[in-house]
């Protein structure tokens, strides 16, 4: 086959691959915070080593985090969280995989703020549940960031709170996530 005949399909393939690669963004330092408010006390924990990949070409997002990376103000609380409630030794990771419709401006990485509806599945404590939430994606001079807030019902994921501390921990926990992405090379 003449080289000249291969030239066009190869060029198209390279362009497609390049565009596809440009549609993928990654962060290894995503931030997730959860907040529980109860009669006895409010509990806040932060995890700033969250992995997230978003594919604007396909409209897909994935989030992975290790439960033992959550940091609490009180060391004892952190230990109880991992050993008694989350059983992090058995279920070290929580994950979320979701899909969303990508607005044209976002696909082109035009500057702006885009609110999208994400639907997917969240896995916590080894239990998967459907999750639908709004996410706000922002493009600022080629830099992509994302923020979202949703609630998690502790019982839905088979997390049991001992009666003795039930006034210390809420049944519904608010989760706030924020990601500043880089191009996934």
């Amino acid at each position: 086959m003449k080289l000249s005949k291969l030239f066009l399909p190869l060029t198209l393939l390279l362009i497609t691959a390049s565009v596809h690669a440009q549609g993928r963004y990654l962060t290894r330092t995503g931030h997730v915070k959860f907040f529980s408010t109860a009669p006895m006390e409010d509990i806040v924990a932060h995890n700033n080593k969250v992995l997230s990949i978003v594919d604007l070409a396909k409209g897909e997002v994935a989030v992975d985090m290790l439960m033992k990376s959550f940091e609490f103000e009180k060391k004892l609380m952190q230990e109880h969280f991992n050993e008694n409630y989350m059983e992090s030794g058995k279920y070290p990771k929580s994950t979320f995989k979701g899909k969303f419709d990508v607005p044209a401006g976002l696909k082109n990485m035009d500057n702006g703020t885009y609110e999208v509806d994400v639907t997917g599945e969240i896995s916590i404590h080894g239990v998967k549940k459907p999750l639908a939430t709004k996410a706000t994606l922002t493009v600022d001079n080629g830099v992509l960031s994302c923020g979202l807030v949703f609630n998690v019902k502790v019982k839905d994921h088979d997390i049991s709170i001992p009666k003795v501390v039930v006034k210390n921990i809420a049944e519904v926990v608010e989760v706030t996530a924020s990601f500043n992405f880089e191009v996934y090379k």
């Binding site: 700033n48 080593k49 290790l66 033992k68 030794g89 070290p92």
Partner: protein, 149 residues
């Protein structure tokens, strides 16, 4: 009469002693189960001693198999420092180089003092003792302390 008083007094003392012992046992039970924190990394023995490159390779090859071996275990890991992060309101994180896309990320047990900061230098080898909590793209260790060579 005096004998009866003495006997009653002795009985009271015995009851108080029993209550005190039961109270101590209950207090120990509460402390042991609810209030005691895990021992610091200094007091723990390592389950493995390994190079950061090897640890990463193990996870890169097969996460499930690597978790069976290293997850929740205490590891003494040696590697070359590739990055040092000291985020505000969070524990310092030191990354060790690997031969792959990711790194071995070591979150320190406590904020670093000046002497410890001097020991951690970019492109210089160091050994940590830490707990392995699994991997995302990077292998993650927490509660890391510096082992002086």
């Amino acid at each position: 009469m005096v004998l009866k008083e003495t006997k009653r007094h002795m009985k009271k003392k015995k009851i108080l002693l029993v209550i005190a012992i039961v109270g101590l046992i209950a207090a120990y039970f509460v402390w042991d189960n609810f209030l005691k924190t895990a021992p610091s990394m200094k007091r723990l023995d390592a389950d493995y001693q390994i190079e950061a490159t090897q640890l990463y390779s193990a996870y890169d090859a097969n996460e499930e198999t690597a978790n069976l071996k290293y997850l929740n275990k205490i590891i003494e890991v040696t590697g070359v420092v590739s990055n040092i992060e000291t985020p505000e309101n969070s524990l310092p994180v030191v990354s060790l180089k690997t031969n792959g896309f990711g790194v071995v990320k070591c979150t320190m047990e406590a904020p670093l003092n000046d002497n410890e900061l001097k020991l951690i230098r970019l492109d210089t080898p160091i050994t940590f003792r830490a707990e392995c909590i699994g991997s995302l793209l990077d292998v993650m260790l927490i509660r890391a302390i510096i082992l002086e060579q």
